[in-house]
């Protein structure tokens, strides 16, 4: 069905008398063109003194010549295929370059300060001219705040997505969808302001880690809902139908068939949401206070958090604070990395095995 909706795909094959073997471009041509492209890049770099420009021309040259060669030696469809392949590879390289750059930069800057001492000490009693102090209090704060936020947002988001995909119809579902859309556009500080005026000013609670969690929860929700929703929608109906046909109640079908099938995607969505909020500064500045000391209780007293720590140190402008800020950023990345890894392991462990 999908094929009939697009025009060009099948027609060239039909136009060509079907041949079982085709001329294929020998591999060495690709390699030769690649080498030529590298040479061009180096040449441009030598003349213009700019690696970026060199890489740009080299890439352009390679894509153009490979496509042209394939067109000449093979056929139009192969040429298109090779063109698409090089574009896809280029896209990947384009995505990896800034990643490597930013990670490398953070690691380089962050490792100057990162040490067991740094990870296990707070900033309590560290004066502006002391090179002591660490990030421990902020790690505790971040883990607790984000953990609590996830504890609320993930079940809530999952259930909402389930409602939207499996049950939801009519006005209620439409308005939920509408508001989830709007929620993706909440600037984080606005969520913070809302929690501030509701939780702290109206209900009279003090600033605490949990108040921060509430704002993070609001920020997590739309990502969880939309990612989950998208994944649930992709679960083939046949699976649901088969399960229902066996007389299994709908709720068990959802829990036992639909959710496990979509598990990988849901975990990705949840981790994206966690990654989105774990680096959040603005709402926390309003809600969790800020302390230099260790406070393990998220429900009482001010806490710190890693992004706050980075923000604070970056802003402090004494001779050690810059290094601390970078080390804090690196710590945050490592934590998210570990969380990501754990989540994926859980996903793999829990996901239905193929062919089960």
């Amino acid at each position: 069905m999908t094929i009939t909706t697009t025009d060009t795909a099948v027609s060239p094959a039909a136009a060509d008398p079907l041949k079982l073997t085709r001329r294929t471009m020998p591999d060495w041509i690709t390699w030769a063109l690649g080498a030529a492209a590298v040479g061009l890049g180096v040449l441009v770099k030598a003349v213009q003194g700019n690696w970026a420009l060199g890489a740009f021309y080299a890439g352009l040259f390679f894509i153009a010549t490979v496509t042209a060669a394939s067109w000449r030696l093979e056929d139009r469809r192969r040429a298109k295929d090779r063109f698409a392949t090089s574009i896809v590879y280029t896209a990947f390289v384009l995505a990896i370059v800034p990643l490597v750059s930013i990670l490398g930069y953070t690691i380089k800057k962050g490792f100057e300060e990162l040490s067991p001492y740094f990870l296990s000490h707070s900033m309590r009693g560290v004066g502006p001219r002391d090179d002591t102090g660490g990030i421990y209090h902020a790690i505790v704060g971040t883990l607790e705040q984000v953990g609590l936020a996830a504890l609320i947002a993930v079940p809530l988001g999952l259930l909402t997505a389930i409602y939207l995909v499996e049950y939801g119809r009519g006005r209620l579902a439409r308005s939920i969808t509408f508001f989830v859309d709007v929620m993706t556009g909440i600037p984080s500080i606005v969520a913070g302001l809302f929690v501030y005026s509701f939780w702290i000013m109206t209900l009279g609670f003090e600033a605490s880690g949990f108040a921060g969690s509430l704002a993070l929860m609001i920020l997590m929700l739309p990502t969880v809902v939309r990612a989950t929703e998208e994944m649930l929608k992709l679960v083939p109906n046949e699976l649901r139908e088969a399960s229902l046909a066996l007389g299994i109640p709908k709720w068990r079908t959802i829990l036992k068939v639909v959710l496990p099938t979509a598990m990988g995607g849901i975990i990705t969505g949840v981790m994206l949401a966690v990654a989105r909020v774990i680096g959040e500064t603005a709402p926390l500045l309003l809600l969790v206070g800020l302390t230099q000391s260790i406070n393990t209780n998220p429900f009482s007293g001010w806490q710190s958090s890693i992004p706050l720590y980075v923000f604070e140190q970056n802003h402090a402008g004494n001779q050690f604070s810059g290094d601390r800020a970078w080390a804090g950023a690196l710590t945050l990345i490592i934590i998210v990395m570990v969380l990501n890894l754990v989540a994926r392991l859980i996903a793999r462990w829990k996901a239905p095995k193929a062919g089960r």
Binding site: V10, A52, K80, A84, V88, T90, A91, A95, I96, L99, I102, Y105, T106, G157, L158, L159, T160, Y163, Y167, G168, R169, L172, R174, T177, D181, V182, M183, G185, P187, S188, I189, V190, L193, F198, R226, E230, V235, P236, N237, E241, L244, G247, P249, K250, W251, T268, A275, R276, I278, G279, T281, A282, I306, V310, F311, A329, I333, M337, N340, R344
Partner: protein, 350 residues
Amino acid sequence: MSTSITPESRGDAKRDSGRRRGRSDKTGHGTDAKLPKPAKTQVRLGDRVFLGSSRGAGILLLVIMAAIAVFLVVEALDALGKNDGNFLTDSTWVTDGAKPAFGVAGLVGGTVISAAIAMLIAVPVAVGVALFITHYAPRRVAQTLGYIVDLLAAVPSVVFGLWGLVFLSPKLIGLHTWLSDYLGWIPIFDKDDAGATARTLFTCGIILAIMVLPIIAAVTREVFLQVPRAHEEAALALGATRWEMIRTAVLPFGKPGIISASMLGLGRALGETIAVAMVLSSSQELVFKFLDPGGNTIAANIANQFGESNELGRGALIASGLVLFFLTLLVNGAARVVINRHKEFSGANA
């Protein structure tokens, strides 16, 4: 989402009846009313509890959002009443003194321009990355690669800000000059001061693109992984090349997912605060020439103003946040329309 599982939509009605039957099957089990009821005698307590709790979650979410919306509107209206300027057409932002005058024109301009640049770069690249991971890279490598790209999502905004300010923007001066040299005849690509700072809306757009890329790539990747094997294999069996298979089987199936993923990314691009605030050499004016420094975005303006703002200033910032809401809404609404037009591909019928 409800709209996309409602059976009677224009898109479906136009399609052949076979598809339509598939769709109504799906909605059939999507509503309790249409369920075949073989188990009428059984009390499906579990079902009721489950439906209740999931609906409850939805309603709770709705209540939260409604509360936020009410809060925002109340706070914003208060400030707007004291505004001496025109909120929608002014570009100044003066919230102190006897004659406060603030307007979002410049901020909206900057927000739209930077987000547009970000999406123009990020969406194609992210789709490419997702394709690479799902259909090009060797399977063993693919998972690792996917993981690496996800890592980018873990980098906190403040790091993007620092990196963008210290590392990236000096490196982009060349690109700015190059673009204005070759494309300067298009007014928006014109650059007044060649070689000047690259802390521009364009650079912010690039940084935003890098920030939203992993979000879009990750969700898109998961969508591509769900493409029914049968579709892909059918295409290959008909003699399609890999690209033709992707064009005919993968992309149409993934389109709504790509759009949804892009909307998630756009949400972040529009609302990104600290990275833009740190990188952009901002000014309170409406800037179209994005290769020149200047302009500002709504979220970055909030970050810049908030710490020192008085009550009126806060209200004004909240009002600008409300504008951001409507922007998001507008774009999301448009995306929903597109998704619904293509929704026959959701709920696979492999």
